[in-house]
Symmetry: C2
Subunit: 492 residues, 2 copies
Amino acid sequence: MFETAELGRKISKEDYKAQEPELRMQLLEVQEDLKHASFPVIILIGGVDGAGKGETVNLLHEWMDPRYLEAHAFGTPSDEERERPEAWRFWRVLPPKGRIGIFFGSWYTHPIIDCVFGRTDEAELDSSLIAINKFEKELVDDGALIIKFWFHLSKKSQEKRLNLLSKNPKTAWRVTKQDWKHFKIYDTFRRISERALRTTSTGEAPWTIVEGEDERYRSITVGKHILESIAKHVAEKKNSKPVEKPKKTKPQEEALTLLDTLDLSQTLSEEKYKTQLEKYQGKFNLLYRKAKAKGFSAILVFEGWDAAGKGGIIRRITPAMDARDYQIIPIAAPTEEERAQHYLWRFWRHLPRAGRVTIFDRSWYGRVLVERVEGFAKEEEWKRAFNEIVNFEEQLNKHGILLLKFWVHIDKDEQMRRFELRQKTSYKHYKITDEDFRNRERWNDYEIAANEMIERTGTEFAPWHLIEANDKKFARIKTLKIFYDSLKRMID
Amino acid sequence: MFETAELGRKISKEDYKAQEPELRMQLLEVQEDLKHASFPVIILIGGVDGAGKGETVNLLHEWMDPRYLEAHAFGTPSDEERERPEAWRFWRVLPPKGRIGIFFGSWYTHPIIDCVFGRTDEAELDSSLIAINKFEKELVDDGALIIKFWFHLSKKSQEKRLNLLSKNPKTAWRVTKQDWKHFKIYDTFRRISERALRTTSTGEAPWTIVEGEDERYRSITVGKHILESIAKHVAEKKNSKPVEKPKKTKPQEEALTLLDTLDLSQTLSEEKYKTQLEKYQGKFNLLYRKAKAKGFSAILVFEGWDAAGKGGIIRRITPAMDARDYQIIPIAAPTEEERAQHYLWRFWRHLPRAGRVTIFDRSWYGRVLVERVEGFAKEEEWKRAFNEIVNFEEQLNKHGILLLKFWVHIDKDEQMRRFELRQKTSYKHYKITDEDFRNRERWNDYEIAANEMIERTGTEFAPWHLIEANDKKFARIKTLKIFYDSLKRMID
């Protein structure tokens, strides 16, 4: 695989001088086009030491408009990063639409290096690579252009280069002990890298191997490849169609769904409610302090019909915790910075640190609920979201985060009753808008969407908890119990 | 000071029921007004344990529209937080305009607690409090409304409350060992808190002491105070005038400024440049690795005329560092999220972690340069910015960050020569726009602004370095030397 990058390709000074100005101008032009396009460009820079990675990052800053370029490098993760799933540190710096992010070192570094130094075996490497493929596919599906460069040097060139730099007193500083250490494991590094590149050279994000020996050749190659890739992507994206609002589906009387099977007549007396609430809040408080001490974190997701009582449930859980330890994230319209990113970005942003709890009042499931029903997302977008969401939640689970998802369920009559009540209660007015009534007209569509969501995203590690909520008191206690029991199981 | 909050004030159940619905409705209405106003509301919640702080945070979530409300609590700082100046963790979560941020625990917690436990003396407390006053004044000057609540309980009530909760098996969980520990130091806590509150009850951000014993009294008091404060602030802000673009000042031939005294004829031969560049990059590389190992971080700020060669200088510094260790932040138009914050927020956002270097290509000095000259900032805004900036830089310095500020200087003729060159060079076209020529017409105003900036923000701990840059080579070497020498002095 690397043989083609050991051919000793060169570009003469004259050729370089002839090509460079035109290339730079075109790169700037294509960057201008990109600004008005609605996708980000992610450039990964990996490869052998001394093959010109750093120099290329510098060069791109020189050639292009640096205001629309961000370079990120990844050293040892901070504790804020270690306390979240591995991918968090990459998500937090993904470039927004219209911009270029250069990742100097990336999600490939750790899997490859760990395997080279024997900290993981090849099966573990493969499983990391599969996760990477999924991640990149999600970004590409969302419109991102991913350009992956692997800078290569043959063993001979590598040695020659290190010796040359070391001998000259003026340049000796450029060679570190680590460079020699890495040189010693050249063969292993080459073998493992090849395996990684093979597995992850996908149709949507292939690797480009760059022969690193000749600076001029390398620079022109990288520049041209970036230019062509962006230009092609801009052209392709121009032809994408606008979304149409989906038509209402008619109610299908017969189709019995999972939600239909819920017994909404379950209630709890005022007295029993009060006793149980105090009891479970107390038990829960003791338990959560243990969990906190052990560094467990939890994410609660609340979805459900308008007026189902999500807020009321949340307010019965939080008093059992110290306000320092939880954060409620109500999901409304995204901000400009959020709109310029993958739809999952705004949720990655709010993942809790170790020992903390994040409560999402509505969540990423908006993608397959409101965005699907109202046509804010294209059909292919919400259809692939099921897998993307499961993949996301799998990462939370793998990191040891307790994820609890609640669907708070009421029937259509109960909703109307509550809407009317809200209209009568002065301070609940704000909670009721024309939109709520419009959404009600699409009850049937939302029901279909909710059922499919529960079916397709209810996994063993993150099942949906269906909460019968025609009786608010019953719903609150049931939810609190589930949180308590799940946390207990986790700790034990 | 606290005596007035020990009067045993109560509100009866009936009164509460009569007042609550109206208050809630008004709070929602005022929140609606706030959404369209261009200022944030910062609510600080501090005080004695058990006086209802957490309950009040929960209540406000219930009463108001939680989508425009963010609560933040502050435990032990993370390493990302510890590696920046103390105020960083607060800056990073300041609410944007139109929203309410509730700070449960705040910048008061550490100064007070440290003093209570004898880790600092009262002089140190005072100096922290003065810093807090400055910080709050900056936020208020920027339009923020700061509402500070101190929840109080008398020693007797405190004891009664803890005993009562402990005796009941159902509520015993609410009392922790820490609660009793805090109770033991009640008197010290009271004395220190009073000192803190006295010093920081300023005209722009006074404290409101809330008697915490009676839940109904406390809730209504807090709710009403928030309501009135926001309503008043909204009304006041409506009368603010739009900014007018300042008129051009005529060149004053005689006035000799600091910048005029620079000897722009200084040059460096190509040969000497090459030798020195390699030499200083090498020396610098060794030095910066030492600095990195010791956890030093640095911030470089580049300001100067259009086409002065700031980018070229930056590109001669970065090759001497590992791309993992530095970040270039080019300052262009702020994003929506940035515009919704204090103008310094976007710079706080990018402060480097320990061992890293952040290079600002233009910076917070835009406030007193382009924003002043073009009238983007009001006169009172840029005038007070001098102090705000010095205060900001003082915090960087106090934290041990090396801050270097460079003014890259060329004369008007040299600028024209470079503009013309850019127009001729295809790939430099993008660097030259009509705006550049328009800015040139205001050369004189920029010169006045730059001189005043250098005079008023050149401090002992962060002086301006004036770089004569008519000869690019000279400018590059001079800057690199300054960086090297300053870092060396710091390490030694």
